[in-house]
Symmetry: C2
Subunit: 206 residues, 2 copies
């Protein structure tokens, strides 16, 4: 989620960079993909526009990424490799609210790279698979929120962390991505509160 | 949701049909849009393919619907006008589970018109607006689930019906549309149970 949260910044480098030319070209090209997606959306994404923006020879881009699906898959994989940790606010409700605010920010940024990535996933199987890997990665990284709540004694062990996280975050995506509702400043907290109450009532204990 | 639930059937007529030629042409054209979307997806949708499939003159289709966005918007509006009622199973949990099963069926149908409609909404502003109207309509029609639960004494009055319905259904969309997870036969019931527990714990009482 963080990877997509700030479309105006170039994507940070995703792996320890040996500083070689190959790594540098990858960074330039993926930065260009990010910028093109954010500015013009998936429909306008082309290998040639990316190459031009990156200042990299077209032939290099075609040889290494083959097509637009290949570019997107590599962009998502790069995002998956990023260091990302959910905030520790001291409470389950607070942690879920912080996560929801981060998600809402990423989807209501203008332009929103996050929204562009989802749009792309409907048109490229490779992009859809890569996006699924990215979601999986982010939810796995977020499970620490539930582990912390168990350690604090807020939750009993045996809670299905993924189910709780999805219940907490799904309304945000639902409003912004599916319903295309305008940004609601209260929604991240409300959804976090609902999920926390549900967890306390045993809703995610399998 | 129901409108999109059975892609293999032609869309039912959407208004009391006076039986005139204009209404008949609309039905033929929207049936053709549905079939084309379900079989080939949004990317392949074209005015010419729709006209050919509908057996309606191209000029008629262009004059009345202008472009692909116009066709989709009319398709969604037609779906909004459909008679649809959520099942009454005798309990809040049961009603929400039935709703979730219906949603899951519509998104895992092969091909899924529901998924095609969402994909289309990312590429046409007009389609996105029409899809939002359709969602709004379906959620409004589903509020009776909450009203019945209040009448049965399962819920206190003052529950935010829309928030409860979104909490109950959002995980289904999240898994199928965003995470692209495979169909999970237990998910509709689990999500319904979670939302019911959350509601009982006061999660949606404003």
């Amino acid at each position: 989620m963080r990877s997509a949260s700030n479309a105006s910044e170039p994507a940070p480098p995703t792996r320890p960079r040996p500083g070689g030319r190959t790594a540098r070209i990858r960074t330039q090209v993926l930065d260009a993909v990010t910028a093109e997606l954010a500015e013009h959306g998936y429909d306008a994404l082309s290998m040639d526009a990316v190459a031009a923006r990156a200042g990299v020879h077209r032939a290099t881009v075609y040889r290494r990424w083959q097509d637009v699906g290949g570019l997107l898959a590599d962009l998502f994989d790069a995002a998956s490799g990023q260091e990302w940790h959910p905030r520790d606010t001291g409470s389950l409700r607070g942690d879920l609210a912080a996560l929801n605010h981060e998600i809402q920010d990423s989807f209501t940024a203008e332009p929103s790279l996050a929204m562009a990535l989802i749009a792309a996933s409907f048109r490229s199987e490779e992009a859809a698979r890569a996006l699924r890997r990215l979601w999986d990665d982010r939810y796995t990284q977020s499970e620490v929120i539930v582990e912390r709540a168990i350690r604090r004694g807020e939750l009993a062990s045996g809670v299905d962390a993924r189910a709780l996280l999805i219940a907490a975050t799904a309304p945000i995506y639902h409003h912004l991505v599916l319903l295309r509702s305008p940004r609601d400043p209260h929604l991240p907290d409300l959804a976090a509160t609902s999920a926390t109450l549900a967890a306390g009532a045993g809703a995610f204990t399998r």
